[in-house]
């Protein structure tokens, strides 16, 4: 949608964010030195497997961590404001108004004892100077825009009366009711069927064109990433391992994890004899390996990887990766791709 970001100022800039959780068993470094920018009107994807810290990153930016969580370092700048130093009462004005969030499971994110209309109106009444009648009109209007049939009737229904796809639409209506600049979408389609997922992704694209907000799309699904995002952050065990625009990432991956992930998924558009095997499992967040955190599962790991942590370095234009052995990866990619075309 917007690839010409060179001269623009980022809407959100996260620098070296560290979020730690203090648990009974020790400190969980869920997010450990994450940096990225989001430009106005673009969609940034954050991709990674469960426990890699992608959701915690979003919650940290919105300052929605529970009492065990603590932002231990870093800077978050949103719309020329330093998010980490804003007092809580001002933060509340920001949330829902300037930045909003939609969640994976709309049934648990919506309050079951209030009607859909009440919940949308709550956000409108909190952030906008309107009376209840006007707020209701706005809510109905919003429901119409997200494609809910008979919005005048649906506005008085409870979440359990709506289907999964309709609930997610209602969620989106709520989050967009105050026209936010930044929308976090945390696995918004994971709980939905594919035909409904197609509807929701389509809807989000349309709304982005209409409202011009930036979206941070958090997902584990590389298909969704390829479909809707402009730039992508790949996370592994609390770290950014690769950061690039979406075409570059899929064409020229420069981290063994991104490469492995792409080859591990079965594809609808092509036949694969055997899926790429990333051996082992994600390390325990209480006890991440030293050096590169992917070293325990990486086919190219050497002694250096196990002791020294690779920095996130520029490997191409606006393309960053954190790996000591990109040359080895390049060889592997070349070998595999030649094998495929042969």
């Amino acid at each position: 949608m917007n690839n010409n970001n060179n001269h623009k100022k980022p809407l959100l800039s996260v620098k070296d964010l560290r979020t730690y959780f203090h648990t009974e068993d020790g400190i969980v470094k869920a997010v450990d030195g994450v940096s990225f920018e989001v430009y106005p009107g673009e969609t940034l994807g954050i991709v990674g497997e469960s426990g890699c810290g992608k959701s915690v990153t979003a919650l940290s930016i919105m300052r929605l961590l529970d009492e065990k969580g603590e932002i231990a370092g870093g800077e978050i700048e949103f719309d020329n404001m330093n998010v980490l130093s804003i007092p809580e009462n001002k933060m509340r004005k920001l949330r829902g108004n300037e930045m909003a969030m939609i969640f994976q499971e709309p049934m648990t994110a919506l309050n079951p004892v209030y009607t859909v209309g009440d919940q949308i109106m709550e956000a409108i009444l909190l952030h906008q100077d309107v009376n209840e009648k006007k707020a209701r009109e706005l809510a109905v209007d919003m429901l119409q825009r997200v494609g809910i049939p008979e919005p005048g009737k649906r506005v008085d229904e409870y979440p359990h009366e709506l289907s999964g796809g309709m609930r997610q639409r209602a969620m989106i209506a709520m989050s967009l009711s105050c026209n936010p600049k930044l929308l976090f979408a945390d696995e918004p389609t994971t709980a939905l069927d594919v035909t409904i997922q197609a509807q929701i992704l389509e809807l989000m694209k349309e709304l982005q064109n209409e409202y011009g907000m930036s979206i941070i799309m958090i997902t584990h699904d590389l298909g969704v990433i390829a479909e809707v995002t402009d730039r992508v952050v790949v996370m592994y065990a609390g770290k950014v391992v690769e950061y690039a625009d979406v075409n570059t990432l899929f064409k020229e991956p420069r981290h063994p994890y991104s490469w492995g992930l792409m080859n591990a998924i079965p594809r609808l558009d092509e036949e694969k004899e055997k899926l790429y095997n990333i051996p082992g499992i994600v390390p325990n967040p209480l006890d991440f390996p030293e050096g590169c955190r992917f070293s325990t599962r990486c086919p190219h790991a050497t002694d250096k990887c196990k002791t020294e942590e690779p920095p996130l370095e520029e490997v191409g234009e606006k393309h960053f990766a954190a790996c000591w052995h990109i040359d080895k990866l390049l060889e592997e990619i070349k070998r595999v791709r030649e094998g495929e075309s042969a």
Binding site: L201, A226, F250, A264, I265, P266, R267, L268, N277, I278
Partner: protein, 406 residues
């Protein structure tokens, strides 16, 4: 029978004869309401589904939530009783195995005895009665009925109903289930070794000692190590638990494994590991899979043939290559186009279906897909299209099959 012999038997099976035949399977769940819990309606979860699975192949069953794919799997293993229809495994009717006695009697009487008697009366002689039947399995049964039992219904039923406990156990040895959720499908209070070996001991396939050794071997086969034997399920990650579930399903060396969303709860990299294991095991043990999933990409990767379900019906059934080269049913076409492809340069044009899946309590008249179908015409809401073979092995249930292109 020893382990190797069983595997040998499975490997030697004629691949042109179906191992499992499902005929007109129907499963309705009653909807109860009111003070007296009266049955007010039915959820038509599976409504007249027929298919075959051949030895050592993988049949993929794909569809969205609520289409009845899991109910098909569960009913096949009689974790639900059938409402009607027939399930034939290895040339034996297994439908009545798990029914209560009088229901089983009634089933046999209606399905065979009354039908065959009528048939003979109409046709005049046994031979012409046999000839008038088209279904291979029915021919076999009718011979058994007239030649072995001289057309005596009570004799026939007596044999069929005898030793049902043994028949049930034999059936359980032949067919096993891998569940979706690796967290709730393992007993949290049992150690891994007992979880895996329990079935072998119950079915008297091995002594306790042998069963434990077998459990250890299977753990290695699925990529875990013997040191995990004495641990409890909570000490494992999701992917490892799914491997334990697979080892448990393998301990009786079954013919058929029904894998219900076996990888959908797993992370991408772990999903790949488990899919690869299932693939290797199929070759090693000569397994036949019914692989149930909502993810068409996964189905494509594992299956030889694919059945697409929508709202309790199979709408299309074909070999994998055929289905992907020439999808004929508008639902299959839309489903394929709805899946995002992990390649930003291949942004395909989407067919976005309108609306939600209708309720299986009150399915639409005629073709069940007509409310969402982009090419529906008048006839679609009136007449239900039958599942017919359009090309060799390619069955479609649509009045306008092949008219919608990607």
């Amino acid at each position: 029978m020893t382990e190797d012999k069983r595997t040998e038997l499975k490997m030697g099976r004629d691949r042109s004869k179906p191992l499992l035949q499902v005929e007109n399977l129907v499963k309705y769940f009653p909807v109860r309401a009111g003070v007296f819990r009266r049955v007010v309606d039915y959820v038509r979860a599976v409504d007249d589904v027929s298919f075959e699975i051949y030895p050592r192949e993988t049949l993929g069953l794909v569809g969205e939530s609520g289409c009845g794919k899991t109910t098909v799997g569960m009913t096949l293993l009689r974790l639900h009783e059938t409402t009607s229809g027939r399930i034939i495994v290895e040339g034996k009717d297994t439908t009545y195995y798990f029914m209560p006695f009088f229901r089983a009697r009634k089933y046999l009487k209606e399905t065979y005895v009354n039908r065959f008697d009528d048939l003979k009366e109409k046709a005049g002689s046994t031979d012409s009665a046999i000839k008038s039947l088209e279904n291979e399995f029915d021919k076999k049964m009718v011979r058994q009925y007239f030649e072995k039992h001289n057309g005596s219904g009570s004799d026939f039923m007596k044999e069929m109903l005898s030793k049902r406990e043994d028949k049930r156990k034999a059936f359980r040895r032949e067919a096993q289930f891998i569940f979706q959720d690796p967290y709730s499908s393992l007993n949290p209070r049992m150690r891994v070794k007992n979880i895996i070996s329990e079935a072998a001991i119950i079915h008297k396939q091995a002594t306790r000692k042998e069963a434990l050794k077998k459990a250890a071997d299977l753990l290695k086969t699925v990529g875990l190590s013997t040191e995990h034997m004495s641990r409890f399920p909570h000490e494992f990650s999701g992917g490892q638990r799914q491997r334990i579930g697979i080892a448990r399903a393998l301990v009786l060396n079954p013919d058929i494994i029904i894998a219900d969303e076996a990888v959908s709860a797993l992370d991408v990299s772990i999903q790949a590991q488990v899919l690869n294991i299932l693939n290797d095991l199929q070759e090693q043990f000569g397994l036949t899979f019914l692989f149930i999933a909502h993810d068409l990409s996964v189905i494509r990767h594992v299956s030889d043939r694919i059945a697409v379900m929508y709202l309790g019906k199979i709408v299309e059934l074909a070999s994998k290559d055929e289905l992907f080269a020439k999808p004929m049913h508008p639902y299959t076409v839309s489903l394929m186009s709805a899946i995002p492809i992990p390649d930003p340069e291949k942004k395909s044009k989407r067919i976005v279906l309108k609306g939600d899946v209708p309720s299986p309590i009150n399915p639409p008249s005629g073709c069940r897909f007509h409310t969402r179908c982009p090419i529906a015409k008048e006839i679609c809401s009136k007449e239900e299209p039958p599942l017919v073979e359009i090309e060799d092995g390619h069955k479609v249930a649509c009045h306008f099959a092949g008219e919608m292109k990607r």
